[in-house]
């Protein structure tokens, strides 16, 4: 027996219900995120990728990556790092001939990401569909793959990825312990686990305002914008059901990660947990 928001359900029921929630919200997912957080979720995701500080050549697995927000930011980051690398290289090679310079352009053009790659893995077909469409509209294709998969049982081999991220996804997993074990398994030794998720606000005044906003405003936004009250009621309830910062830290340590730490954003409305496979 487990929970779906404030309801008590079986594990199978929970998985089914959550699948349906995301199937239903997929098309309006991005619009709703902007409305509910007044665009602040973009800053949270930027901070996550900055914390990751990926260098060209990094292989990222973004689980529950649905509509691609983390993947696109990763690609942008790596591209700009690569560009700066190339600029620095050019500066040191100002004595090259024109021929040599243009040849180096050809070579570098095919490696604008410098062999970096991101695999977006999600359990929900609708979310992946929206993500793929978005990638096409925004012009992302190189270094990007989309895989249908379950965080509790990943379709990847051991020791494959440099970084594993899960942004606003682990809350919807039914067996968090299994997801963490899988994360450990697929990371290379030295690899980093990063989790961005809603967490607990300890400040009492802020907590009450946050609750008021969550329970009074968010389901209304869901009804007005997406025509779906119930999915957003589930969302705010699931946030309250999710383990707080220290508990999640302990669970990550249990999965075998070292140097586990967390960083609160906006007084704990959101937290980034980090751990290493050593």
């Amino acid at each position: 027996e487990t929970h779906f928001g404030f309801q008590t359900v079986t594990e199978a029921e929970r998985r089914e219900k959550i699948y349906q929630v995301f199937e239903s919200v997929a098309k309006k997912y991005d619009v709703m995120n902007d409305s509910m957080t007044l665009g602040i979720h973009r800053v949270w995701k930027d901070i996550l990728v900055h914390k990751m500080n990926p260098s060209p050549g990094t292989l990222l697995l973004d689980v529950a990556g649905g509509t691609g927000d983390i993947a696109f930011r990763f690609i942008n980051y790596v591209r700009s790092v690569r560009e700066r690398q190339l600029q620095r290289k050019l500066k040191h090679h100002q004595n090259l001939s024109w021929q040599e310079i243009s040849e180096s352009y050809q070579e570098d053009k095919s490696k604008s990401l410098g062999d970096s790659q991101v695999v977006v893995c999600d359990i929900n077909k609708e979310m992946l569909k929206v993500g793929k469409q978005k990638a096409q509209n925004l012009g992302y294709s190189e270094g990007l793959s989309w895989v249908l998969g379950n965080a509790e049982e990943l379709p990847f081999d051991d020791d494959m990825f440099d970084v594993y991220t899960i942004a606003f996804g682990i809350r919807n997993v039914t067996r968090i312990d299994l997801a963490l074990q899988e994360a450990y398994r697929v990371l290379k030794p030295g690899g980093r686990f990063l989790c961005l998720e809603f967490s607990h606000v300890s400040n009492p005044l802020l907590s009450r305002l946050y609750d008021l906003y969550s329970f009074q405003v968010i389901p209304v936004l869901g009804e007005v914008i997406a025509g779906d009250w119930k999915s957003y009621q589930y969302l705010v309830e699931s946030i309250r059901r999710f383990p707080p910062q220290e508990e999640l830290k302990a669970m990550i340590e249990d999965a075998g990660f070292f140097k586990v730490d967390y960083q609160n954003l906006n007084s704990g409305i959101v937290a980034i947990h980090s751990g290493f496979k050593l």
């Binding site: 404030f6 609750d211 329970f215 009074q216 405003v217 209304v220 009804e223 007005v224 914008i225 009250w229």
Partner: protein, 241 residues
Amino acid sequence: EEEEQEKEEEEGCYRLYPGHIPTSPLQKALLAAGSAFMALYDPYRHDMVAVLGETTGCLALPNLRDKMKHHPEGYRILQERPRIRLSTLDMARLRGLPDGTLGREYVRFLEDNKVSPDTRMPPKFVDDEELAYVIQRYREVHDLMHTLLGMPTNMLGEVVVKWFEAIQTGLPMCVLGAAFGPIRLSARKLQVLATELVPWAIRSGRNASCILNVYYEQRWEQPVESLREEIGIFPPPAVRV
């Protein structure tokens, strides 16, 4: 845990009918504002019009229910709770009725305008089970209003029906629809609306008895003109809508 208690308190007597979502006064206010905005912004969001009706109908709905209670036919409708759905209508039989009868013209209206009675939203935010039925009945009878008023489902026709319904029901959603609906009409249509259709809709709305007090399902064989006379709806003006 506080949130759990809060939620249970909020839900009070819990779900009063299938699909019921209990809401606090603040949520109703936010829903009313949000749905009003969204209904104007995106006219295809019929669900928003429905939500607006439910969240602003707290005075008009009890009024309508009382009108029904104090009328023999309306009272029977409240007791028997008939529903107008494709599954309960015998479409073949209605189609076979003579031209000019309510049943025949209703089916003709559904087919000409390619609409179905099954697309009406079920109520969600009405916190009284009987009033939820009243608003549901109002929605399901809407197509019959089109038939009785002889108005098609284009923008102009819908606005005319809204004027009639606004007078008849007093629902703020109908009043808002009647007032803001014409915004998207051309000048020529506005002229026809203002000079002929709205005055007729108002006169008929005032003159007619309560449209929710008619057991339409028992009157399929009645000629539309006879039913109009009985209710008190004046014949529609001879303009193209």
